[in-house]
Subunit: 331 residues, 2 copies
């Protein structure tokens, strides 16, 4: 029998284990033109909270009673497709199933010799592309500028900060524990870190760690962290709105100080994006990230949860900040 | 004797006539390298409210007890400067004085035969440049896209909407009276107008007049008007933050629904600017605006207040929405 994880119901506010259901089905078989896939790694990502709701967004919602779908690395265990053979590894958007079939459409072959398989869900996958494209295409950081990253110990933030250092920026990260903040400087090479949970005054903490002000702000969280950073943006600064995890579980749009006058006074730009806005940049981005990884300039940071049954909990733990770097489940 | 208008005190909240003082001084005389200028037109603009406060901004504050300074068109009545002769007209940042001296630095000669002199403070001056550069450089409107303009009957807004029509956009303006809204379609060629003071639901009014959603929003006002427009922005839309007149007289930063999630969901860009961000584009912009004016594609819209003594009131009237198009005082 084959296990699958479906959306049991749509969460209101914070999601919980009861929003997911485990079902079993007969192990599938393949027809001509198909491949059989055994899941190896499953990606859990904050953006998936959006797909659990029924609200209009850039990506269709999950359907209640249907399998959850996300980034997966799988091994080809049988093939009736000319382009794939048993033993190949692929990555792509696939169902949360132990075993599934595919026509191969939308899947990319990945090389376990070139990088650890889990890296294709993180640094060399969606989160690495998000970090690289958002920072370079929207943020356009210049050597000597100051870059602030929120959610800095997370999958995207930890890569953003490291790229900022490679590009010659003064990099300050904001994270949610002293242990994470320590990791920012010791493991990821940030110049300084701020624990937003213990900082009494975010704006003052930014002022102290960013003596020349902030030129580029890569934001994964929004909320009061961002309100504090905004107060120290330099003229012609860029705010990259990548995520807003502080608000994903809120049931109404929260209020905040108006941004329009701040944008005008300092000629600031705020820009939201999704990684697929930059598909034409992916090949060059992957090549650059892989090169930096092989040169040891980028650290591979992952939190790996073991076991298919623990996938939902790994997802839920994202909102408690349990991950360091990319959160993945190993099946 | 020569009259001058100084800043008597810094307003808190809404400015009033008592914030200005009239002083008289001996009529100045010129030395070698100077010219004597007689003021012809004085520009009053919402951004000047910011200079009356002591807050840090992109332009230094006015000093209490010193003359107010702004856009002026003046006639040269005497010259000891090789580049100017009596009878020339100039525009530039000058004091609110009937007569003043200048070294000519920062002044541009203007041609009363090529356009009415007041146009050099509006369509062919700062407000025209603001409209043209903000719309084309930040908004990058494409033919067939929908453009919404707030403060649409004002100096900048009325030009933005007309340029939008020239570029082939569906253009909707938001203004503060039925008479202004009527003017948007009859005089400026907008496709539709909304009176925000009588519209019960701004978002619904935008939905009705912008059936394909909003691609470009040129914002001069912020406030609830903008909150309504934001709800109908299309994917990859651009919000040009030019002004926030709804808030210039507020004494604290008002609260509003957070924008970060909206920016992410639709890959939106919000960008503030001041016209001097685009000084390298000015020569081409002036040439294009003058050509459209001479071809009759742009209507020259002004509210002219007569008399030097009425300059402060003309400024104050901006915040009551008394102007149609550019507000100027004729001395």
């Amino acid at each position: 029998m084959n296990k699958t994880i479906t959306l049991a119901k749509r969460p209101i506010g914070e999601p919980s284990a009861s929003d997911f259901a485990f079902e079993t089905e007969a192990t599938p078989t393949i027809k001509d033109g198909e491949i059989l896939l055994e899941t190896v790694y499953v990606s859990v990502d904050p953006y998936m909270r959006g797909r659990m709701s029924n609200a209009k967004s850039y990506i269709p919602p999950f359907e209640v009673g249907k399998p959850i779908e996300g980034g997966v690395v799988a091994k080809v265990t049988a093939s009736k497709h000319p382009d794939f053979q048993s033993g190949d590894h692929v990555s792509g958007m696939l169902a949360w199933k132990q075993i599934q079939t595919s026509t191969g459409r939308g899947l990319n072959k990945v090389d376990p010799e070139a990088a650890p398989l889990s890296a294709y869900l993180g640094l060399l996958g969606m989160t690495g592309l998000t970090a690289y494209c958002g920072l370079t295409e929207i943020g356009t950081p210049q050597a000597g500028e100051t870059l602030v990253v929120s959610g800095a110990a997370g999958a995207v933030g930890s890569v953003v900060g490291q790229i900022g250092k490679i590009l010659g920026c003064h990099v300050v990260g904001v994270a949610g524990s002293d242990e994470k903040v320590e990791m920012l400087t010791s493991k990821f090479g940030f110049d300084a870190g701020i624990n937003y949970k213990t900082a009494e005054d975010m704006a003052a903490a930014i002022d102290k760690t960013c003596p020349d002000g902030v030129d580029v702000y890569f934001d994964n969280v929004a909320g009061k962290v961002s309100d504090g950073v905004y107060l120290h943006m330099n003229r012609l600064g860029r705010i990259i709105n990548c995520g807003a995890i502080a608000h994903y579980n809120e049931t109404s749009i929260p209020m905040a100080p108006r941004v329009e006058m701040m944008l005008i006074k300092n000629s600031l730009r705020m820009q939201g994006f999704i990684v697929n806005d930059f598909t034409d940049k992916f090949p060059a981005a992957i090549q650059q990230l892989a090169q930096w990884l092989s040169e040891g300039k980028l650290a591979l940071a992952e939190t790996v949860v073991e076991g298919f049954d623990n996938i939902p909990q790994a997802f839920l733990d994202l909102f408690a900040g349990a991950n360091r770097g990319k959160m993945v489940a190993k099946v």
